[in-house]
Symmetry: C2
Subunit: 306 residues, 2 copies
Amino acid sequence: MGKTYIFGHKNPDTDSITSSLVMANFERKMGNEEAVACRLGNINKETEYVLNYLGMEAPELIESVEDGANVILVDHNNPKESIDNLDNVNVLKVVDHHAVVLTTGYPLYYRAEPVGCTETVLYKLYRENNIEVDKTIATLMVSAIISDTLLLKSPTTTAEDIKAVEELAGIAGIDPQSYGLEMLKAGTDLSSFSIEEILSLDAKEIDIKGIKVLINQVNTASIPDVMAKKAELEAGINKVIESKGLDLFVLLITDIVNSNSQTISIGKRTDLVEKSYGVTLVENTALLEGVVSRKKQVIPVLTENA
Amino acid sequence: MGKTYIFGHKNPDTDSITSSLVMANFERKMGNEEAVACRLGNINKETEYVLNYLGMEAPELIESVEDGANVILVDHNNPKESIDNLDNVNVLKVVDHHAVVLTTGYPLYYRAEPVGCTETVLYKLYRENNIEVDKTIATLMVSAIISDTLLLKSPTTTAEDIKAVEELAGIAGIDPQSYGLEMLKAGTDLSSFSIEEILSLDAKEIDIKGIKVLINQVNTASIPDVMAKKAELEAGINKVIESKGLDLFVLLITDIVNSNSQTISIGKRTDLVEKSYGVTLVENTALLEGVVSRKKQVIPVLTENA
């Protein structure tokens, strides 16, 4: 049936990259010989750590696919986070762990579960279909689950994620704590990034009851290291607010060791941050104790208070 | 976590009714003790045959559920075919085989596959989770697959449906051909229905590129028996066209034995039916050879030719 392009979201994280590789392997094992792992953007430092650890190549970088092509979406279903001509291709399958946004005019295979990571769903797919999870596949899977759940500490973590990490770490032959912390730390290396790049590293733009909000999350092992660039970050944020016409820019600087986030929040609706977390922003910043998950602890909280 | 209401689409068919019963059984087996099978409308004659065969009660009839309630949708995801306050409830899961129309603001368990029947997906769920499929559950499942695929003859039928029917018929201890034909024939008994009821038995209203179309399908073992009421059907169709402001009403009278459909098509866009099937409507009617599936052989064909 011709090539099947498999890719995660734009601005890919470790889950999007590893899930495209793992899903392509799964499809080939299931008889779809022409399944190809792809990506819609650059590899981040954390994912680079994983690929280097395995001595693996990154998936093929693509910007678009031809109209009518077969595609499989992993780790996303929102058309805004996907290829531009999604309406004109044939979505064969979706494997995901996000809210459902996509609509299709045709039946397809759609598998989403409310778990911490797409790889937890993929692990179940392998088990259900009796496909072997080898050492490489297990390492890709466990890396993504550790990444998405911040070492199983994020409130997005479910019992299924915990079980998957236990089993997969065994197959991968790694200690999830030490491997995971090294991997997460590799992802916090911001030294090669410009301010503009830092501010779009993991950016999600959403409309909350008519309020245009952009939430960008940056992981770190040391909040003070990132806050040393506060003035430059603020200047950069103001530029983004102007160019995108935002009402609120929330930068979350997330301490992956202590599970807290420092925010720099700027815009005419910063009151929403203050109300949502019962904090006062002093010179645009405040500590949000225990907040590490945009999906569980930021988007719904801002929405409730808007 | 309180009661979980499980239901199929309004105007329920055998798949919607049996899937709510089967999914409720699955949920209880998986530990969700308060899962309750429900239905959003009356039981049709075909489903009645299945429930009588098993000596089973129909699921509880509901019109709505309280805001904030937990629900599981089976055999549909289109809000138009569901409870009115779907936006205000918590959709825990969807198990379906239709195009994706629902959007949610939150992650959920969403399982859809492009197969002929929801029960084929549910059968896989039982297998994947090592839940026993007993004789009753197997009979409910196989009945729905036979119903949705017209005894595996509809073009919606997949290899997975065929395999499921083989295995389930064995567990149920039935011969799918003889049981299936009796069941389908029971569903064709129109004697107790008014013309208005016949015209809304399995009605689907859709917008095809701005053209308002209603397609209603009626199964029969004898097209002439139904065509004997042609004048009354035409009068009824004209009333529906006027009250709903339709551009086209397509009544499909489907011969389940010979796998053909006679159509009575009325409205200002009957040209679409003629163009789509290369037929000329004579006194509003034409034979559509080999057409039995609205999903595969009517909606996409009308859409392509619109």
